[in-house]
Amino acid sequence: MTEGFVAVINALPYMLKGSLVTIGVVFGAMGLGLSLGVPLAVGLVYGPGWLRKIIGFYVWFFRGVPLLVLLFLFYFGLFSWMGINFSAFSAGTIVLGLISAAYQSQIFRGAMLSLPEGQLKAARALGMSDVKAILFIILPQALRLSVPGWSNEYSIVLKDSAVTYALGVAEIMARTHFVASRTYQHLPLYIAAGMMYLLMTYIGVKGLRILEKNVRIPGYSY
């Protein structure tokens, strides 16, 4: 028992450094997912038919293929075939970001579709172009409505980030596995790793809940 405790204490600085890598992967992936997911959603809702088809294909592909397959496909396959030399960290972050973009596009799409049609009509009636109407009227409302769904997506991406271990990214899971295979203290070490993920989920979801409250439109209940 004490041996296990000592192993965790000894490994903690090393594992905590891994949590920084995990945070890097998650922030990168969520950021990429956000910056791609919003235009994808706009294209899905307001784009011409051919664009909707292309985006539909993108979403279908990234939601349909398992994470591990995509990580290997891009890191060992596509990126090296294209002659791009990404680090495992970058490749893992990009792939998680591309997948998250597919899921996030559905979050934003749902939020946009839930807005009354009159919002766009009123914006157009003022002489706004569709681009301005989407930018100043639709997105500010849709993004507010998306925070709960986005919080859900955050917790999923956080957990998925552990799979980048398979590429050799030195995040929490990879480091825990490394220490465990040397000390044979699997149980306490993986409990510690699990607790780190739980704590990061708690902090992130809590933070997004505060954001949700802060951006809530006064007098509006949802």
Binding site: A122, A125, L126, S129, I137, R144, I217, Y220
Partner: protein, 255 residues
Amino acid sequence: MARTDNNPVLKVENVRKSFGDKEILKGLSLSVKKGEVKVIIGPSGGGKSTLLQCINFLVVPDEGEVWLEGRKINYAKKRELYAYRQQVGMIFQDFNLFDHLTALENVQIGLVRVKKMDKVSAHERAAAELRRVGLAEHAGHYPAQLSGGQKQRVSIARALAMDPKVMLLDEPTSALDPELIGEVHAVIKDLVANGMTMLMATHQIGFASVLADEIIFMEDGCIVEQGPPTQILLNAQCTRTKEFCAKITHLSADS
């Protein structure tokens, strides 16, 4: 009420619109002169709302032409369409205020984002328009914090801030509690007194008869009859117009 200019501000010619195989507008024409108020009445589903939305191309007509101050609008040209819409104020039945903006921001956003006015002047103008509709003290409130009547007055202020040449009002009081209708009617009356050119669809026949220079009775996508209020309401030529007016007058007498 000065009636100086004889050329129509707004002219609509032979507008047709179908949704699927249901023809909503069957080749409608009308015109509104400067300072004139025309009121469209008629049963629901008769095409009033579609007509108003076709006029500023929120619904694209299948056929027909729209002219503003003698210029035919080519709505396929985006720039021309956006410039035209700025000059046509639209009031919706269900207000359509931007829910994430305060009353003041609702009025201001068109000035800043469309007219490219600087923030300070836009703020001043928006505040002035809110004062005009009697809502100066509600400038900081969000739509969800306003009553229906207040929301509609904000939406009128939003349209007025753009200095429209003509206003289209699509049943502006139909979604309101009876006791809130009066405050919106007062604002509209005030606009008419100041010479605003208007085309309004409404079921408020009493209000229409006081305000309108001409009443247009519309049914099944056609104009059945049009003329001064006294003629349409008291001495209609068509039996359908008579029937409708009798019913609707009876209703408003009840309430």
